[in-house]
């Protein structure tokens, strides 16, 4: 039951830490790294609030052990902002289109949208719905979230 050394790249910086094997990746990010942007909703893989990118693809951080992330590259919602800490293009679009109500699901929505737009800057409505299908918004504010993703896609295309 001894602790394990892990070395993880988070939002571009490498961190070496000792973790208990039973520690989930979501608890590691919040509790050990103080990255509170990753929200924990259900803790059993249903709500999607804890979504992060693992080597560029979206996963649920509550369904992975921190030890399993050893040697891998993670992007949390904090990693979506610009280098000076101001909101990135996608985050701006969420703000401008008011793609949130209470904001609890927002980090997961942003991560899913980021993964979608990285592959496809002109997604159809169905593609957007499919991409955020694993993220629950219990305010049911989906329409504006979708509009925010469409706005971000438009801006991405305009920026070329």
């Amino acid at each position: 039951m001894s602790k394990r050394n892990i070395s993880v790249t988070i939002n571009g910086s490498v961190y070496t830490r000792q973790v208990e094997p039973r520690l989930s990746l979501s608890d590691f990010l919040r509790g050990e790294q103080n990255l509170h942007g990753t929200h924990i909703g259900c803790e059993h893989g249903v709500c999607g609030a804890c979504s992060i990118l693992l080597d560029g693809v979206p996963i649920r951080a509550c369904l992975m052990l921190a030890v399993q992330a050893d040697g891998q590259e993670l992007t949390t919602v904090e990693g979506l902002s610009q280098d000076d800490g101001t909101p990135g293009l996608l985050q701006d679009a969420f703000q401008d289109a008011h793609g949130m109500q209470c904001g609890y699901c927002t980090p997961g929505m942003l991560i899913s949208a980021q993964a979608l737009l990285a592959d496809n800057n002109d997604p159809s409505l169905d593609e957007i719905k499919d991409a955020i299908g694993g993220n629950l918004c219990r305010c049911t504010g989906y329409v504006q979230i979708i509009e925010a993703i469409q706005l971000a896609a438009t801006r991405l295309r305009e920026a070329g």
């Binding site: 803790e43 893989g45 979504s51 693809v57 649920r60 052990l65 694993g134």
Partner: protein, 296 residues
Amino acid sequence: MKAAKFDYIQAGSVDEVVDALAKGDGEAIIIAGGQTLMPMLSMRLARPETVIDINRIPELSGIAVDGDEVVIKACTRQATALASAEIQRHLPLLAKAIAYVGHQQTRNRGTIGGSLSHADPASEIPLTALTMDARVRLRSVAGIREVAMADYFLGPMMTARADNEILLSVHFPLPPTGSRTGTAFHEVSERRGDFAVVAAAALIVLDGNGVCSRVALGIGGADGVPKRITGLEDKLRGGKIDPDAIQAAMGEVAATLAPGSDQHAGADYRRRVAGKLAERALIDALTDALLEAENE
């Protein structure tokens, strides 16, 4: 919602896994994608002494056509299988089924072998493997054995795999050459990506004369294990198959299933949905097979 303490082994080879399983004596458990096991650990429904991580064993990943079968290694991600040209081409039924499995976040971690090992009676990959007459290869310190899907599912989340065995790979037979194969997969769930309330998988093979040489219908979520409707298959095999013949055999579906009731759906509802989805899947599989014939 925090897992109880456990020892963690990051295995580098299958040899290491089977040794650790033998040493664990029933108290060691394998983690692959973790999409089912992590919630079980968090809720303490599972309290293993040792968790054996198989994610970094290269010999457990990959998809290959080997003779007359397609072999999928256990730790192959569902997302990898869904995107695989080999699977789209050779196992279209599996590709159709995986599209219903969870969401991108879970498919990026979840594995083919993990779905087969957990064997939820409503999950899509076990249902597809059963419908396609696949078999799994299992290994313990005692050696390797293979189990056909027909003998694999023992009950809800219970399989023929022993605690000291690892599932290495699943083997899907290819359809015979010169035949036309049609497939279809349908399910009803509360939301897309949720576990199926009921799911139906159908496969129809027509020979050169348009006679149905093979038909398989599998239903998930409507019994303790995924079920083949063999009575219906027996009625349809060997003859000309058309929507009327399918209709005439539909009574076998409800007669074969013993669905349960839970918060998602009652037994009657499940039985009726199973019948409807079965009919839809068979007719779509037939259309698919005939379309393939036209395109030849």
